[in-house]
Symmetry: C2
Subunit: 376 residues, 2 copies
């Protein structure tokens, strides 16, 4: 079971950026193009960036609501819990929730910053990326030292600029990078192309794991007339894609110290996928140009890490996954979150798991992967 | 363990059509447009249909080969085991393999007949579908009664014609229909559209389960420069799509006696997907227009069936899937097959499974689903 002294570390949560994140950090001349909040129709608040209006999605700020009140409509800041956008209020909610530390993904920029990938002005977009990183490091995480794992985004349309940004933020204390689970899924060169090698080398050198949030490589291709619940239930197929794609690519052979966290997407599919990829490797390695020496499931261990909220299947087969590959996420303030009962639900899920394994899963694995150690 | 008296029934195998399947059955006037085998470059044999040249894929006829000799290049009939295209030779191979009965999917037509969907002459395409069905019923299955579960394809670009074909083949002894796992994935109306209702009603009335072979709704969207092994390892994500798509559609509410078999794709992902879809249903059923009364995992039981070749994860968690939902496949003569050791490998996989469960999985579930009972 979960020992009382475990500090639960969650590796997938979300910050809702307050309205002045970019206005506070960019030069005044960019104020008309930088991301800023405008009042829309019907009392709604929207983000405006260059000429694009980008709605907030209500589902991304539902912490504390009853599921009967969930919806995809935009919400106003004053309709959210302050913990969505205020780090001091967030820490209070974490205390209620029994979660000691969180790692927060961007909202307006997209999980991996792809909002900026679609920008007209790439110079401004690069400045926006750096501004978000300064916000998360200097404002959000700095408000509560030891309570947030600092994660950054990259100007990933430019590999050299991404290398420079990795070096800049590593020096400022960043511990992780949010990257896309499927570069080719969003129109960029694949993990097989070699295109990303300088960036992957820089991440490896800086000891910053790549965090691949589900949805960062696209939405599962559900039918246009299907309910959106179909896509929500299928997002873990993206994580399966990323796992197979990476394990059959040259990435971990070229960068053996690089590590990847699959952020949201569960763990219950992992035993099947590892068994399947080994089966395919056994039979198809001779003619497909993949590495013929290292069994993919051996490559998985120590390179790819997953996380869960509730996942009876994955916990039951945790030894097939590897207990050291499993972490916890609380997903605050998204619709999957168990806030304000995250620790209580986690303790229930771990009730029949030996204490040492429970401690690894709830705290130690995340602290070791992100080099985010307890302060004495 | 697997009792000696169990007759292993496989629910996913493949016939390689011999060169005269269509020429033998279509009027002579269609001989220049109907599917026929032509000699290609380098001694290869190809199918020609209308003006299209369609290569056979070597991987589809590798039974008996060493994986070091696998490849995607076309093969000649005289390079295959005769069991690929000759039902008498097939039964001999099944006897060696320890498999009492098989259900054989089409090869040239595509798993669900989509080669004919792309035809210029729809009247000829309809005749080609009926000819394949007559071939499989009157020639292939008739060559060895009790050894093949008769499965047919439909002219599914035309719902009324599909209804008529279901009624025609049901009267001739068909026991299953091969349909696409993702109609919208191949450019047709989705399972949510109502478009298929007359066909689904006819299948339900005729007690013919729909068999959705992985790949029948498209190939996983791997990067163009990724090895094909990535797609091979990911095909089960198609089966996950079909499961979620169907369970969150009106299909089983409208047709409660309709049953669906997922053909190839394993079972180890099912515990995760069922847990996930229930989780999503609990939180998102109120605003997404899905059924709010029936838990998706309850709808799964008795409506959706899976099969496996080797699947330690799925067998370990078989009680989370439901033992009555699990069947075996031998996948002869494709690259996943364990021929000539299918029964031996299956017995090994079931070694720690109680006899009653092993019997259900290896024989009884398939016999009951397809109403393919032992002959006295």
């Amino acid at each position: 079971m979960l020992p009382d002294d475990v500090q639960v570390v969650s590796v997938d949560d979300h910050v809702i950026e307050h309205a002045r994140v970019w206005l506070d950090r960019l030069p005044a001349r960019d104020a008309d193009a930088a991301p800023r909040v405008v009042e829309g129709e019907g009392g709604r608040q929207m983000w405006k960036y260059e000429d694009r209006l980008l709605p907030t999605i209500g589902l991304n700020a539902v912490a504390g609501k009853d599921p009967r009140d969930f919806g995809v409509e935009p919400v106003r800041f004053d309709e959210m819990l302050p913990g969505c956008y205020d780090p001091v209020a967030r820490v209070k909610d974490m205390d209620v929730d029994g979660v000691h530390a969180q790692m927060c993904f961007p909202s307006f920029p997209g999980f991996a910053g792809s909002t900026f990938l679609a920008a007209q002005d790439r110079a401004l977009a690069g400045a926006c990326v750096r501004a978000w990183n300064d916000f998360i490091l200097d404002e959000w995480c700095a408000a509560a030292p030891g309570r947030f794992i600092p994660m950054v985004i990259l100007p990933f349309w430019d590999v050299d600029a991404s290398v420079a940004e990795i070096q800049r933020v590593a020096a400022k204390g960043a511990k992780a990078i949010s990257f896309t689970e499927s570069p080719h899924g969003i129109g960029l060169p694949s993990y097989h192309s070699g295109h990303w090698d300088p960036m992957l080398a820089a991440a490896q050198d800086a000891e910053l794991p790549l965090c691949l949030h589900f949805g960062s490589g696209g939405v599962p291709a559900f039918a246009p007339d299907a309910p959106f619940a179909v896509a929500i239930a299928l997002f873990a197929t993206n994580a399966q894609f990323a796992t197979v794609d990476l394990l059959l690519s040259p990435v971990f052979h070229a960068f053996p110290r690089l590590r990847v966290a699959l952020s949201e997407g569960g763990i219950g599919w992992m035993p099947y996928v590892l068994e399947r990829i080994d089966y395919v490797w056994e039979r198809h390695r001779w003619y497909t140009g993949i590495n013929t020496e290292v069994r993919p499931s051996d490559l998985f261990a120590g390179h790819i890490f997953g996380c869960f909220i509730e996942d009876a299947a994955g916990l039951a087969l945790r030894d097939l996954i590897g207990v050291r590959s499993i972490m916890f996420e609380s997903d605050y303030p998204h619709s999957d979150s168990n806030f304000p009962a995250s620790r209580e639900k986690l303790a229930g899920a771990l009730a029949s798991v030996p204490d040492d394994d429970a401690r690894r899963i709830a705290e130690d694995n995340a602290r070791e992967l992100f080099r985010f150690f307890r302060t004495p």
